[in-house]
Amino acid sequence: MQGTNRNVSGKQPARIPSRHNHGAPRQKPNIKNMRQTLQRIWRYMYAKKKLFYLVLIMVVVSSALSLLGPYLLGVTVDHMVADFQTNQLTVMLILLGVIFIAQSGAVWMQNYWMITIAQETVQTMRNDLFSHILLLPLPFFQKRQSGEVMSRLTNDMENVSRTLNSSVIQLATSVLTLGGTVTIMLWLSPLLTLLTLTIVPLMYWGMRWITNRTGRYFKAQQRDLGDVNGYVEETLSGHHIIKAFSQEERVTAAFHEKNERLRDSGYWAQTYSGFIPKLMNSLNNLSFTIIVGFGAILAVNGLVSIGIIVTFTTYARQFTRPLNDLANQYNVVLSAVAGAERVFEIMDEEPEKDGPQAKPVDRLHGAVEFRSVDFAYQEGERTLSNINLRVAPGQTVALVGPTGAGKTTLISLLAQFYQPDGGRILLDGRDASKLMRASLRRNMGIVLQDSILFEITIRENIRYGRLKATDEEVVQAAKAANADGFIRKLPKGYDTVLKADGSGISHGQRQLLSIARVMLADPALLILDEATSSVDTITEMKINDAFQQLMKGKTSFVIAHRLNTVKNADIIAVIQSGQITEQGTHQELIKQNGHYASLVQSSRTQKNG
């Protein structure tokens, strides 16, 4: 089953209709395999199956009681009207009381347990989805926007949860009450039942007439709403441009135009959809009229009792409501199933997997070899071709070349984020693809250019490098990375919680923290991406020094921007358009008098003004 769902259909932005789409018929969600999806949800609920059966029993009980209540009410009224036997009446009243209490109790229990089931089921699904996502290979994340993945973990799961909370019980109750009501009504008075049922075709035609119209208007409204919201988003996030170009009047005018269109389409969509509850309500009133009017005629002729009329008026209400609920719930369930399908779609994505014969490695010595490695992100657009590079343990490799030449791709291959399309990468002489990925990564330390830190304390962020490190070791690493000084100056020191948007500490300081993190991990192999961003000179020197500390005795791959780093490297690899065009030490390459030499030359002339 797995593998068949590998999403190749491209992006499908998960747009969940807004929560309060009051009585609005939704556009039909796109469902591929309803049965399979429901089965999978059931498998998640299976752990709670005992509770679930209890819920179902309670639903049967509460539905039965809700049918019994009105019936007994009618009987009681008949007793009251016909004869005044107080004893019997007392018994009836006590019975009614018991039934009402039992009904409330059953309703409460069914809801209480169902919420437990729904919430715990969704919790498990969410956990599974999240841990599965973390295992997915990087191309997955490249293919999709993070907002889309987010929306599956949040909106889609929320949708499933809400539906499980209420729809299961509502559906079951609706079907049971509907069946029960009709049965009892038939039993009490077939004639009156038939008269009551005349409203069903009316309801059907009425609904069809309305939904035929609303569908069209809703589509228009959805489009116009999307337009307005999109425009708001675009112009408000670019507000400084609008100001600087003094285009306020122009965007305001354009906005008004879109806003007007939305008002017009929204007017008709809302008006028509507003008909639905009114129709249902009127049909209720109509059935009430029919029952009372004809019931009275029948009662005069002694065919029914007054009690039956009372019972029927209540049943008629119980009968139109489930019909309405069923129609509503149907849409809700469909959209939840579509949401669940999007969730399962991700769970079916193949996670990063080691080859069948993959073996674990312990501590690597650090010998690396690229042997005619080819790689393409997209078919036909080769990013790296025929890369050959041999690095002895402890050597430093500086990767040099223009943006987009393939430097980042090369280190991404080394970090096992992607698999080469051709050729091999050898680590300590062994084919990397035949080694267990986790054990390899344990040997690698990575400092990315954009220094990603997490919203936890600085101490925990550094400890990310080695979870078992003591506080003392964390401080040691921070000191070695020249980060201790600034950390201590923060009001909360190592306990400062970092913010996601990067506010609070500077870019350079973030870089120092990410170096400390790797320092703590103490890997055999280092992958470094020197930052180009404008950090101030002092911090830059600190970073430089920290890098030197870090690289001592380790095999290092550095995407270098500083001449110093490059000059001191054991191997300089010049990468241009996906190929290594020059390779050697600084001296050798200068002698070669190729591209590298001209780079150094131009930097010298710049320096001397």
Binding site: L96, S104, S237, T289, P402, L467, S603
Partner: protein, 579 residues
């Protein structure tokens, strides 16, 4: 909420009509049990078919009347709700457009976006509901009790005793529930931020093998989300069983008392039936009522957020008149300018003075946070200076009408923000009246014309969400062309050539020389500004030194240090051709 009511007031007629129509429906439902009572008491009991027929017809007539009112109500209700939403969106948007940058930043653009979209929609559906059912449920409960009194006072007293009690119980439980939902939302936000963090840092999570660490972190928050959510939902779900139980207890009491009254002859059977009918219908209204309370509390929060924007006085005025275009030469002087961002303790700029002559190229250099971008934003008066003054052609900047001033300034910000639409539409932002020739000239000067022509649809290519994606460098060049089209007298490049390679950058700067405008180049690399007539060197918000490159090299040790550290860095980035 008060503010919103004044917006609804604009549609007074439609709103009153909608409410009246709703009242008709309500009255019909209220009198139906009474009609039923008289059918039973005068018709069935006395075996009078004529009366049954008559009252039956009345019942049918009222049902039709209710239906017609309901349908008509829909038209008026949506007129009110859509109209109000339209007006709100219009006014809020206009208001935001007149906000100063400071104000927008204080609210945060993302928050303003939600207010304009989600919150307005929320209000709209609340109004629609209010026009249709919101008043109905409480009115029905009250009306039902009153009607019951007209039928039989003693039996009605029972209803009158039960209803307020149950209402109080419901309100109490629901306010507790709403509070719990608030903390559910906070936990959802927390969960979302973990997800976002992980998606952003997925490489890191993989590289450090922290799957299980992150999963644990996620599980913990997820667990507590689940528990709070469960508690909130379960609390809400106790409301209905309790209300049901209470009302049913009321019904039993009515039956019991009714039976005694029937015995003594104080009540008719029809009366008892009618009151029972009111009781069951009121019970039904309670369900709607709880739904409405939820929506109302949400709507109130939205209304508060919208009102906050509407009550914020805008800090910028659109120009009142077009009194004689005031062309400036491009000469600009800062005299002892200091600037402090709102709520910041340290000033971002302090005592900066310099003079830039018309047509000069001025470089601005400094570390991150030294105040370069702040300086740039003060020129088009995006922020007012805190102390000191800026003078254009010797006149204080405040004496210019804001829009006229900005019309003569071209701004190319750090982040090239383009709008969805065609390339041409984006370029015309600079100057709506630009001719074909001017557009092309600007594109040529920004070194983007050749690229545009290589696209199949050329200048009509759609970019942005629905169109093609541009690289960072292409965006920067388009954003530059957009600024050039307005033939500005002052052009500000705020670190906006960073994604260009050295050759392109040089070509662009060359082209700028040919235009007669004062150019400010803000850069972190000295190489970008070396040829400027004047370089301003900022340090911690103060002007450390200024002058041409050669002079600074000789006179400023700080400048020399930056220059040296940079000559060893960054060279490899820029060399080679941009692919």
């Amino acid at each position: 909420m008060k503010e919103i009511v004044t917006y609804v007031a604009k549609y007074k007629a439609a709103a009153v009509l909608a409410l009246l129509l709703m009242a008709v429906e309500l009255v019909v439902e209220l009198i139906q049990p009474v009609i039923m009572a008289s059918i039973i008491d005068t018709g069935v009991v006395q075996r009078d078919m004529g009366r049954i027929g008559f009252w039956g017809a009345v019942l049918l007539g009222t049902s039709v009347l209710a239906f017609a009112s309901g349908i008509l109500n829909s038209f008026f209700a949506s007129k009110v709700s859509q109209g109000t939403a339209y007006d709100l969106r219009k006014d809020v948007y206009e208001r935001i457009q007149r906000f100063s940058v400071t104000q927008i930043q204080r609210f945060a653009a993302s928050s303003l976006i939600t207010r304009l979209t989600t919150d307005v929609t929320q209000i709209q559906s609340l109004i629609f509901m209010a026009m249709r059912i919101m008043l109905r449920a409480p009115l029905f409960i009250i009306g039902g009790v009153i009607m019951a009194f007209t039928v039989n006072v003693q039996l009605a007293l029972i209803l009158a005793a039960f209803v307020p009690f149950l209402l109080l119980v419901m309100l109490f439980l629901m306010t507790k529930g709403v509070k719990l939902f608030g903390s559910v939302q906070a936990k959802i936000d927390r969960l979302n931020s973990i997800i976002q963090e992980n998606l952003l840092g997925i490489r890191l999570v993989k590289a450090f093998l922290r799957n299980s660490f992150e999963t644990d972190r996620f599980r913990k928050v997820n667990q507590s989300l689940m528990e709070t959510n469960k508690r909130a939902l379960q609390l809400m779900e106790t409301v209905m069983p309790i209300v049901m139980l209470g009302m049913n207890a009321g019904i039993i009491t009515i039956l019991w008392l009714g039976s005694i009254q029937l015995e003594t002859g104080d009540a008719q059977p029809g009366e008892v039936v009618a009151i029972l009918n009111y009781a069951t219908r009121i019970l039904g209204s309670f369900g709607v009522f709880s739904f409405l309370l939820m929506n109302f509390s949400r709507g109130k929060a939205s209304a508060a957020r919208i009102t906050e924007v509407l009550l914020e006085p805008p800090e910028e005025q659109l120009d009142k008149s077009d009194q004689g275009e005031h062309r400036m030469s491009g000469q600009i002087a800062f005299e002892n300018v200091s600037f402090c961002y709102p709520e910041a303790k340290q000033p971002a700029l302090q005592g900066v003075s310099f003079l830039a002559d018309a047509g000069e190229m001025v470089g601005v250099i400094g570390e991150t946070g030294s105040g370069k971008s702040t300086l740039a934003q003060l020129i088009p008066s995006l922020f007012p200076v805190t102390r000191g003054g800026i003078f254009l052609d010797g006149k204080p900047i405040e004496s210019f009408e804001m829009q006229q001033l900005r019309r003569q300034i071209g701004m190319v910000p750090q982040q090239a923000h383009l709008f969805s639409g065609t390339i041409k539409e984006n370029l015309l932002w600079g100057n709506e009246e630009a001719s074909e020739k001017e557009i092309i000239q600007a594109a040529v000067d920004a070194s983007i014309h050749d690229y545009i022509m290589s696209l199949p649809r050329g200048y009509d290519t759609v970019i942005g969400q629905r169109g093609i994606n541009l690289s960072g460098g292409q965006k920067q060049r388009l954003s530059l062309a957009r600024a050039l089209i307005r033939e500005p007298k002052i052009l500000i490049l705020d670190d906006s050539t960073s994604a260009l390679d050295a050759n392109t950058e040089a070509r662009v700067l060359q082209a700028l020389r040919r235009r007669s405008c004062t150019v400010f180049i803000i850069a972190s690399k000295i190489s970008s500004v070396k040829n400027a007539e004047k370089i301003l060197l900022l340090k911690h918000g103060e002007l450390e030194a200024s002058g041409p490159h050669r002079q600074l090299i000789e006179q400023s040790a700080y400048y020399r240090m930056i220059y040296q550290s940079q000559s060893e860095a960054g060279v490899f980035e820029h060399a080679g051709n941009e692919s």
